[in-house]
């Protein structure tokens, strides 16, 4: 049971009159909720652009040979799609938006530990994003390496690799500073009497994520700097022509980029853990197991990067070690899935849009996770390595997981963020179209991947065309679903019915304050008494 906290007369953060007015009241805001919305609008814009680029790729692949673009344009587009979606959407997405907005509220704080550093992180994010966008339009043409920038090709290609890697380097600083801010916030700013094990589970997932952000991101930063130095000064880090080792690049790249997958997925898991008890009106099953599994995923997830490199020429000993570690990381992920299902058991299930997205997350993430074991196993990995099977697996995890987790969070916390409701019927229709479109888009890629369709190929054998046609139709359906979902939410934010403080009968702190929250969240420190999910 939680006692909180604000009076109905409090001025909401949206109406708060501060030092600045108009646009300046937003771009100079240090309130965590306004900064969260700055991230939301920026990231949503990049997501829409990335999705359109993805659709263009799908249209190109609807038939063999050239369809709507040249091969070099295709190389540029899949690289840009990857860089934008990875570094500008899914890595910062949930953590920077919902972490910023709800972490302080969920732990009973008035803001994050370093509000100005928080705003500075957003400016760094925007600077990095502008650099990334510029890299597409400068004279040498968009980078054509894929988002992985593998050496030695990335040390030699004449395209804008330096610009793109500098962008990723700058974006990394934003990620590190945000992570640092969240760690300090959780350690130092929890409400009186809120112990670590009385925090809700979304802050736990943000905590685990923040550690990865702080510890792993510097490694990609130094790797990209080494790549830039290699291109400029021919030092010989990665290019065999100068005595370098291209596998070293892969090691260093994936030491960051595999944990980065957990930066994307852990906050989504935290969102799902908030939604399920609320819409089942049940106490979370295995609270401590879920909290610890977040830390376990973050910890073990660090040590599995080599499964991206099974065909790189890495030693056999390293390969079986990485394969073993990869199977171990499946355990804490499974702990979460089983605990979510156990939480639902005998619950009063209310199939509102947030729960539909949460259930979709479990379904899609499970497919992505189980196909991940196919890739973690040495023998089967070699069969499907660098095929569209990997593309399908990756998108089931990142889009089916993080993406649907993001949509779930958006629908769950929308009434709190804007103080208005969206239309449930339209939300359900959009969810149905998105879910069908998603599976039509990505599932055929598993099949043609098993049959030998390589990833990133511009042209293909006629035998793969049926799969590509189905996939492209799925892509079009998915875009329609996205459009309907965004339209419904925009209409809701502008004209929706006023939202009550607690529309879902939730038990955590954000539902105990008015919608939208006031400037400093709480009039006084909330009293924390028991388990955050006290429904029984």
């Amino acid at each position: 049971m939680i006692n909180a906290t604000t009076t109905m007369e409090s001025v909401s953060y949206l109406d708060h009159k501060g030092k600045y007015k108009g646009i300046f009241a937003w771009i100079f805001a240090t309130d965590h909720k306004r900064i969260a919305l700055l991230y939301l609008y920026a990231i949503s814009t990049f997501f829409v652009i990335g999705a359109i680029l993805g659709l263009l790729m799908r249209l190109e692949l609807i038939s063999p040979g050239q369809t709507i673009m040249t091969a070099q344009t295709y190389n540029g587009i899949f690289t840009v799609h990857g860089i934008m979606m990875i570094f500008m959407v899914v890595i910062p997405g949930l953590s920077a938006i919902f972490g910023n907005f709800f972490l302080p509220i969920l732990i009973g704080a008035k803001d994050v530990a370093f509000p100005r550093l928080n705003l500075f992180s957003w400016y760094i994010f925007i600077t990095g994003s502008i650099l990334a966008v510029l890299s597409q339009f400068l004279r040498s043409g968009p980078p054509d390496t894929g988002w992985t920038f593998y050496a030695p090709y990335s040390t030699a290609t004449g395209t804008n690799v330096i610009f793109a890697t500098t962008a990723a380097f700058v974006l990394g600083f934003s990620s590190i500073l945000t992570g640092l801010n969240f760690i300090v916030t959780i350690h130092r700013m929890r409400a009186p009497k809120m112990k670590f094990f009385s925090m809700p589970l979304f802050p736990w997932s943000i905590y685990a994520t923040a550690w990865i952000q702080v510890l792993a991101t510097p490694i990609i930063a130094i790797t990209l700097l080494m790549l830039i130095a290699e291109r400029l000064f021919k030092i010989g880090f990665f290019d065999p022509a100068y005595g370098g080792d291209p596998i070293l690049f892969q090691h260093m790249f994936w030491i960051y980029s595999h944990p980065a997958v957990y930066i994307m997925i852990l906050p989504a898991m935290g969102v799902i853990t908030e939604i399920i008890p609320t819409f089942c009106q049940r106490k979370v099953y295995g609270y401590k197991a879920i909290a610890m599994s977040s830390l376990a995923i973050a910890g073990v997830g660090y040590l599995v990067w080599g499964h991206h490199m099974f065909t790189s020429g890495m030693s056999e000993t390293a390969r079986w070690v990485f394969s073993l570690l990869t199977f171990i990381v499946a355990i804490p992920s499974a702990v979460k899935v089983f605990n979510w299902l156990a939480t639902m058991y005998k619950g009063s299930i209310d199939l509102k849009p947030p729960l539909l997205y949460a259930l979709s997350f479990i379904f899609l993430f499970s497919i992505g996770g189980l196909t991940g074991l196919v890739l973690g196993s040495l023998a089967t990995n070699i069969q499907v390595h660098d095929t569209s099977f990997v593309v399908a697996h990756f998108h089931y995890i990142v889009f089916g997981g993080m993406g649907f987790g993001f949509f779930a969070a958006l629908h769950y916390w929308f009434p709190k963020i804007y103080g208005r409701m969206y239309n449930f019927r339209r939300a359900n229709i959009a969810w149905g179209i998105l879910f069908v479109g998603f599976n039509l888009l990505y599932f055929p890629l598993f099949i043609i991947g098993m049959q030998g369709m390589p990833r990133r190929y511009y042209d293909y054998l006629p035998q793969f065309q049926t799969g590509h046609v189905i996939s492209t139709i799925g892509g079009i359906i998915l875009i329609i679903g996205l459009f309907l979902m965004i339209r419904n939410l925009v209409l809701g934010a502008r004209k929706g019915a006023k939202a009550p403080a607690n529309p879902w009968n939730g038990s955590t702190l954000e539902w105990q304050i008015v919608s939208p929250p006031p400037q400093e969240n709480f009039d006084e420190d909330p009293l924390i008494k028991n388990n955050p999910y006290d429904y029984e």
Partner: protein, 94 residues
């Protein structure tokens, strides 16, 4: 150190740590002139690790912090060591 308490380290201690760090830097440079095969890398990492330990312990005040923070920082070092060991499993057996 408790949440609100502060600890001021003596200038003498900080000076000794600074001199020690400079000494280790000198050692790092000197050992590069000897060909110790793979042990060059091992020695460089041990020296760098020791310097990092001194910086974290004294300059970053971990010595005076709570047990929880000591454990967290210790885990970071452990993780870093694991990453190095696993990477070298590739290089040692390739």
């Amino acid at each position: 150190m408790s949440e609100n308490a502060t600890h001021i380290t003596e200038y003498k201690t900080l000076g000794i740590v600074l001199v020690t760090l400079l000494f280790f830097t000198l050692i790092t440079i000197v050992v590069t002139s000897f060909d110790l095969a793979v042990w060059n890398v091992v020695l460089a990492l041990v020296i760098a690790g020791t310097k990092g330990f001194l910086v974290v312990t004294y300059f970053m005040h971990i010595k005076y912090e709570s047990l929880l923070l000591k454990i967290l920082v210790g885990m970071v070092f452990f993780l870093f060591a694991l990453i190095l060991v696993i990477t070298f499993i590739d290089y040692a057996y390739r």
